[in-house]
């Protein structure tokens, strides 16, 4: 194994650690929000510092590899991809942190019916599943898994698109739930944004492995 190979392997391990950390943050933010668990929410807020520190570490390592090893071809695409994936994952970390802060801002547990009707829990599950897929895709270099998330993101977009009318109806009949509704709609927006971030990650993985640029292209969910 060359010196560059060792550096690239370490970078991949760090990126996988970032995937794991951010996925865990997103899962915990779901638990915190749905169970009104302020202790877990605080844990997410605390761990956000770890996410930020790891982002800086990965950025620095990419910079060093560029400067010292001048990577080319697939190595160059890999380092470029990690740099961008890192940034997207950090944003997902911010989202998990932001969602967890709603726990402190809300008095009492979120209304179960409200959560059910807005499909908030489904959104969390889809977002986590997308993140798990791209993590596996990155680890195994299986671009099929990465391409799969484009379709899953459509489900997030659909839930997000329907959320306004669902929430409007609830507020009309239960004005006392307005505060909770506003937090829920904010969380839905953030989870929709998570889907976009994961899609960006998938695009970077495909760029790195296949040298194809999918950005701004329609019909990405094909398996070509």
């Amino acid at each position: 194994m060359t010196h560059l190979d060792i550096e690239l392997k370490q970078l991949k391990e760090e990126a996988l650690e970032m995937f794991d950390l951010v996925t865990s943050q997103l899962k915990k933010s779901k638990t915190a929000l749905l169970n009104n668990d302020s202790e877990i929410a605080r844990e997410v807020n605390f761990n956000e510092r770890r996410v930020n520190a790891l982002e800086l570490k990965i950025d620095k390592d990419c910079e060093n590899i560029f400067a010292l090893f001048n990577p080319l071809a697939i190595d160059l695409r890999f380092v470029l991809a990690v740099l961008k994936i890192n940034s997207n994952l950090e944003r997902i970390g911010d989202i998990a942190d932001g969602i967890s802060r709603y726990v402190a801002a809300t008095s009492g547990r979120f209304d179960k019916e409200l959560v059910h009707q807005t499909k908030l829990e489904d959104m969390f599950d889809i977002a986590v599943s997308m993140l798990t897929d791209v993590r596996a895709s990155f680890d195994t270099e299986d671009t099929k898994l990465a391409r799969g998330v484009f379709k899953k993101d459509d489900s997030l977009d659909e839930i997000n698109a329907n959320a306004n009318s669902v929430v409007e109806d609830i507020i009309r009949t239960n004005t006392e739930k307005t505060g909770q509704c506003l937090h829920i709609i904010s969380a839905i927006r953030k989870l929709e944004r998570t889907g976009d971030q994961v899609k960006n990650v998938a695009e970077e993985i495909i760029f790195y492995i296949e040298a194809k640029v999918l950005k701004h292209l329609p019909g990405k969910n094909t398996n070509e």
Partner: protein, 251 residues
Amino acid sequence: MFKIESKNVHLYYNDFHALKGISMTVKSNTVTALIGPSGCGKSTFLRLFNRMNDLIDGVKIEGEVLLDGKDIYNTKGLRTDELRKKVGMVFQKPNPFPKSIFENVAYGLRVNGISHKNFIEERVETSLKQAALWEEVKDKLKKSAFELSGGQQQRLCIARALAIEPSVVLMDEPASALDPISTAKIEELIYELKNKYTIMIVTHNMQQAGRVSDMTAFFYLGELIEYDHTQTIFTNPKDPKTQSYVTGRFG
């Protein structure tokens, strides 16, 4: 019409098959980098274009090598010294003659029968300026070329090659013996020179190939494995062998 073209060229050093059916075209005013591990045939390929291989015993060449559409090996009346006026060459190690700076550059003109003093002076100045050396040597033109640093000597050799106004310049690892500052000057020079010349350069330095060339050809075991735009070769080569080479995994 292409400036340079090789069509199915095979070259043998006695029994050794050094080039295996190389076909390649080069446009005017471009820089083409030839890369590949030692012994892959890139320098042999470079030397085809000024017939330097002819000097080696036991060489046999098949195929066509064209310069401006003319087969330089099979055109009646095309003399090697005439060809070398059109195709200049710079070698790995600076090799100035044991003469003054001025005479090094004037040499090619004198052996070609030019004796007009003003013309020679003018051409020496122009060539030294083109080689980005004029400012450093204009006050010591009569000094020995050996008093110059390695990087200056190499630029002097480039000026010497340019003085006879070739249209093609071949460079065989021109900066491999130089320090980073001199290397940067040579690279900058190559970039400038392509406005006027067609340049082919052999280099072992991947970053140098990336910085100076428009097209890159990867040779391996006497074969041309891949020839494409430099950007493509260094970001998304098509052949796994090219990828392995440019990423430093073999060669």
